[in-house]
């Protein structure tokens, strides 16, 4: 009883502070802080993906397909960090918040006069730098009940007073010494008082998990592992899938290093009270060493945020042989699939297939290639949800399998797509690389541990590196496609003005017509873009903001200073000419008409 009283008092206190800061425009909002309601106000961008459904769409319509060519840079600032910037700012009230790449500076900027309200840089375990897999990226802060939640690379979670930047609480979600880091954005379900945080590091013997912390206190509430017995994976009695598959689809103890990390974009359906996220690749890159389906790696999960219990889980790539992490954004949209209206979850997976799933039940409705070059499978069996695999593209110990499409970076990585309710299209930034893949035995050779694999990536057929595409979810077909020289590693935002915004690794920020893909506007930026644009208004004027600062997996060669890559190796080789187009350096740029 005492606890409840304290929480109530805290909530009230925060509500009062919130009201005094002008976060809420109505008296009802002050009584019950609802993040969902706040996200409906298109002046703000209060969640990393804009709203719980992850559609990254703004109802603002001052910038249109007709006038977008008149966009100008309104203001800019340096992030004081040089590595890959994969995140996006938030706008809450009159303040813009963003987090840089490592060392993870967090800034609060007053939009009235651009002065820095506060700045926060965590003290970090520097060891995290050496275990971070794909550059030292960060995917942004989250907001909830007067707090800015910021994840640091070393796994610490900071809850900062949104007004002062003062630490309200601090929690721990990873151990860099075990190869664990945190690069993803926290996911706040404010209505359920939860901060949900994933983990990175599937390559270095991590067993993936998501942890829920109490939004007010930072106390750990539950943790759900991707592998292990039902008691670890939190599959309750109402779970619709097979029980204890997190152990019995593995050989021996392999599930303990089962991978299945959780570093992508989460979404939430308040009506069903389910949140959705994906798990990454199974432990070692050597598939011969881990026979079985390796559940629940490569899986879409639907869980209750309150207790973490899973309702359904769908594994997209059983027994992964290509590192096709299933972590990409889970977009919730009520759409027609084969002319049937359905509350859907739409997910463009690394494995090159777009999955359209009934988000109530997990039933697979459609799975189609969104890059024609995909060749590891010919399609999916909708009845049992399994891929029809192409045996020629299977990988195994000691064999160099050539010409696999997509490459391990996927037909799309974490760079999030947007759903445009006006056209009904998903606007999707994609990669177009293929690869040769050779796994090596994982073993312990009289005192010397070893795991490994080698991969050689190169541009796919047609000699382009990526594309921005429009996807019709009803038919499962590409409507239009704009090719890019490099993987389109930046996310997308769409607006009711009929415009889609995105940035490219060679350093252009672009606006295109959502209906046709026609280029409307292009601005060369200080560095390549792997971040996600947001749209907000201030003083009645519409703004579009993005960070630039190249890096990430596809840009690791440049980011890590590998200026003289050995030809044809991994991502370094495929993006070896990136240095001819751009250099490192983080900044925030805001555009307006």
């Amino acid at each position: 009883m005492k606890k409840t009283a304290i929480v109530a008092a805290l909530t009230l206190g925060l509500a009062v502070i919130g009201a005094s800061l002008g976060w809420h425009s109505s008296a009802t909002a002050q009584q019950k802080l609802s993040l969902a309601d706040m996200s409906a106000n298109s002046a703000q961008w209060v969640m990393p993906a804009g709203d719980y459904a992850n559609i990254r769409h703004s109802a603002l319509n001052d910038i249109t397909a007709d006038n977008a060519k008149g966009l100008k840079i309104a203001w800019q600032m340096s992030t004081n960090a040089t590595r890959g910037h994969e995140g996006q700012p938030l706008v809450v009230g009159n303040t813009l918040y963003f987090e840089s790449a490592y060392p993870n500076h967090v800034f609060a900027i007053n939009l009235d006069d651009y002065h820095i309200k506060w700045e926060f840089t965590p003290t970090q375990d520097a060891f995290a730098v050496s275990v971070a897999c794909c550059d030292l990226v960060n995917r942004g802060v989250a907001f909830g009940d007067g707090l800015i939640i910021a994840n640091a690379l070393d796994g610490k979670i900071y809850a900062l007073n949104a007004d002062t930047g003062k630490i309200q609480w601090k929690a721990n979600n990873a151990d860099p010494e075990l190869g664990q880091t945190v690069t993803s954005a926290p996911f706040v379900v404010a209505e359920k008082n939860r901060v949900i945080v994933g983990v990175s590091g599937g390559e270095y013997g991590v067993r993936g998990y998501v942890t829920a912390f109490d939004l007010h206190s930072g106390a750990k509430v539950w943790r759900a592992y991707s592998e292990g017995p039902d008691s670890d994976t939190l599959m309750g009695s109402d779970f619709t899938g097979p029980h204890n598959a997190g152990v019995n689809t593995w050989h021996g103890e392999q599930w303990k290093i089962g991978g299945g990390t959780t570093w992508g974009w989460y979404s939430y359906d308040p009506k069903l009270d389910l949140f959705y996220y994906g798990s990454g690749n199974p432990g070692t890159w050597d598939p011969s060493a881990r026979p079985g389906d390796n559940k629940w790696s490569m899986t879409v999960f639907a869980r209750h945020p309150g207790n973490g219990h899973a309702v359904w889980a769908y594994q997209m790539t059983p027994h992964d042989q290509w590192d096709y992490d299933g972590v990409n954004e889970m977009i919730l949209a009520d759409i027609k699939v084969h002319d049937q209206q359905v509350p859907a979850l739409v997910h463009f997976d690394r494995n090159g297939f777009a999955f359209e799933i009934d988000r109530r039940s997990g039933k697979l409705l459609l799975a189609e290639k969104y890059d024609p070059s995909v060749n590891w499978a010919t399609g999916f069996n909708l009845a049992n949800g399994k891929p029809n695999e192409n045996p020629e593209m299977a990988t195994r110990e000691g064999k160099n399998t050539k010409g696999i499409c997509p490459a391990s970076i996927g037909a799309k990585d974490q760079q999030p797509a947007s759903f445009d309710p006006q056209t009904g299209y998903f606007i999707v930034p994609t990669n177009h690389w293929c690869e040769d893949y050779q796994p090596f035995a994982s073993k312990y050779k009289a005192g010397f541990p070893y795991v490994g694999a080698t991969v050689k990536m190169y541009r796919g057929p047609g000699d382009y590196g990526g594309a921005l595409i429009a996807w019709d979810p009803n038919t499962g077909k590409i409507v239009w496609s704009d090719h890019e020289h490099f993987p389109a590693w930046g996310g997308v935002a769409t607006t009711d003005g009929g415009v889609a915004f995105y940035g490219t690794m060679d350093g252009y920020f672009k606006a295109v017509n959502t209906k046709t893909g026609e280029l409307l506007f292009s601005q060369k930026m200080p560095s390549g873009i792997i971040a996600n644009p947001i749209v907000f208004s201030h003083g009645g004027k519409e703004f579009v903001a993005t960070m630039s600062g190249v890096g990430g997996w596809a840009g690791i060669g440049l980011a890590a200073g590998l200026t003289n890559p050995t030809a044809g190796l991994g991502a370094v080789g495929a993006a070896a000419d990136l240095g001819h187009y751009t250099t490192l350096g983080g900044d925030l740029t805001v555009f307006s008409l």
Binding site: N172, A174, R223, G252, A289, S408, G447, T454, G561, L562
Partner: protein, 277 residues
Amino acid sequence: MRVLRLIGWALCAGAALTLPGSRPVAASAAAGAPLVFCADPAYMPYSDRSGDGFENRIAAVVGRALDRPVQFYWRSMREKDEYGEFITATIQAKKCDVLVDVPYALGDVKTTRPYFISSYVFVYKKARAYDVTSLDSPDLKRLKIGYEGETPVQMGLKQRTLILGSKLFLTADNESASPQDIVAALESNKIDIGLTWDPAVGYFLKNRPDLVTVAIANTRSQGYPEQFTFPMAMATRVHDAGLNAALNHVIATHSSELQAVLRQYNISFSTPTDSGE
């Protein structure tokens, strides 16, 4: 504890019935019954028949903690080049019950929680002051490299075409080789820098302040993951859950003694911390 003891006795009885005439096997968790460790009789610094290896000392800590006499079942890890053969012929064959130094989640056995984390390292003369932190460090291109074969460092060197002209050491394949050989090669300037597993070489650097080690960073610079840091654990047979739990308890309650042994053998390590468990 009472339950464990009963199960232990039952297992003991079972073993005696099915293996008449064989030497008693300590599958028991009962206090007082000997606990048998699998070890190489001549592979310093790991283990030695005289009890001088760090695995011997770790075994002693475990034995004391469980109040059970320590016995060793000796077999070379290196006479066949697969560690898997060693496992099959020792712990799987119930000749012994515990391994104390295996990578966490190694297959075919049940590992405990990791009790230390170590790394492949660069070893070189301190006076040379090389700037090396990863296999991508430019200094490596101008150095004469010695490396332990069939390890992640070998693959890393190969992928960066640094392997040509580098000197191969195959300690794990050859009973007459020692992890010390790479140190001797540094001493005689046959190589400028050695790449090997820290726990293998640390012991031989104990009185060598002129030599320095630097951990090789895990990286994804080549596109795919390269892992040079590994959590290390103890292990039992897969179904020996009682003994496995007992070892986990020892790891939880005797960490300072276990770490003292590692330090005594000059192993650079970190310990897994609680990541909000």
